[in-house]
């Protein structure tokens, strides 16, 4: 009977196969800074639907007057997926830009190895919210400066001062459209996280 097909009998417990390792990196930054472009340059893009119960954070932002039955809010988002021969799958999640989706950030941040903050030198202030969030939550991040055509070029040190970043935070000039450039950004972030955790473990032992 078709209705009994998936009662579990078809899944022998021994068919587990290898369990993939999974890792997650967040891609953050202001609206229109190129987050989706960056993710698309290096990974396969897939859709994700979320319809979350309304949280305190969306009350007052989603106007529910006269729609008393509305208790959930919909967020449609994309994510990037890179699967490696080593049974590793790396996911890239863009953080939703609009304020009403802030509640999604905590969800996305759980289990992430770090974040990329994408900045545009013409609108530097747009990435302040992201930097604040990651500094507050203790999430390691690297800043990638998307070098748009015609945008003013700055030295990483100038950007460090403008964003008042610590001397250890990696700052990488990049072109979010170019795979190799995006790869360089992600490699810088992962090296940074590795060095931080090594330092951390030394402190732990001492």
């Amino acid at each position: 009977m078709d209705s009994n097909r998936f009662d579990g009998a078809l899944a022998p417990a021994g068919a587990a196969g290898n369990v993939p390792s999974t890792a997650k990196i967040l891609i953050s930054g202001g609206f229109g800074v190129g987050k989706t472009t960056l993710v698309g340059a290096i990974s396969e893009i897939r859709p994700l639907r979320t319809e979350e119960p309304m949280s305190d954070r969306s009350i007052g932002i989603d106007d529910t007057q006269g729609v008393s039955a509305k208790t959930t809010t919909t967020v449609a988002m994309d994510f990037g997926r890179i699967s490696f021969p080593s049974q590793l799958v790396l996911y890239l999640f863009g953080t939703p830009g609009q304020e009403r989706f802030w509640f999604m950030w905590d969800e996305l941040a759980i289990g992430a190895i770090g974040a990329v903050v994408l900045a545009d030198t013409r609108r530097v202030a747009d990435c302040f919210a992201s930097i604040d969030y990651f500094e507050r939550s203790g999430m390691p991040f690297a800043v990638a400066v998307n070098c748009f055509d015609g945008a003013p070029r700055f030295e990483p040190d100038d950007i460090r001062i403008a964003l008042s970043l610590g001397s250890d935070v990696p700052i990488v000039l990049c072109d979010a459209r170019q795979r190799d450039s995006v790869k360089k950004v992600l490699v810088s972030l992962v090296r940074y996280v590795m060095s931080m955790s090594r330092t951390g473990s030394r402190i732990g032992i001492g």
């Binding site: 994700l48 639907r49 979320t50 119960p53 208790t71 992962v190 955790s197």
Partner: protein
């Protein structure tokens, strides 16, 4: 007759929105039973156990089980099944508490997991 055409597209236009309100398939429940938590990149698998007498899996439960015959990250499952994440979590909770599904791996401290970080670095550098 199936609800898919040859190219695998659904008959219904996505733009039309869901026919059934998302949380209708969970009977209005918005949190997984048993206090289980399911991270986006946690990996789950169907255990192969039959449904207990008292539990009748719905079509969405069965769809999840059919997609979890191999170890499957929850985010891939959710993307594939085209139900909202919150709904998928409730359904996963039902299946886990009935012993029909289990979580194989979960990310706790990825920032200090040198083995995982090394895998990611090696993977990225080989691209």
């Amino acid at each position: 007759m199936t609800a898919r055409d040859r190219s695998g597209d659904r008959w219904l236009d996505r733009e039309a929105g869901p026919v059934v309100r998302p949380y209708a398939v969970t009977k209005g429940r918005t949190l997984p039973s048993g206090g289980a938590s399911f991270g986006l990149i946690d990996v789950v698998i169907a255990t192969g156990d039959r449904a207990p007498e008292h539990f009748r899996p719905g079509p969405e439960h069965r769809q999840i089980l059919s997609l979890c015959l191999r170890p499957t990250p929850i985010v891939d499952l959710t993307s594939e099944i085209d139900l909202p994440l919150g709904v998928v979590r409730v359904l996963l909770g039902d299946l886990a508490s009935e012993g029909m599904l289990r979580v194989l791996s979960t990310q706790k401290q990825p920032m200090t997991d040198q083995r995982l970080l090394r895998m990611v670095l090696d993977g990225l550098e080989s691209l």
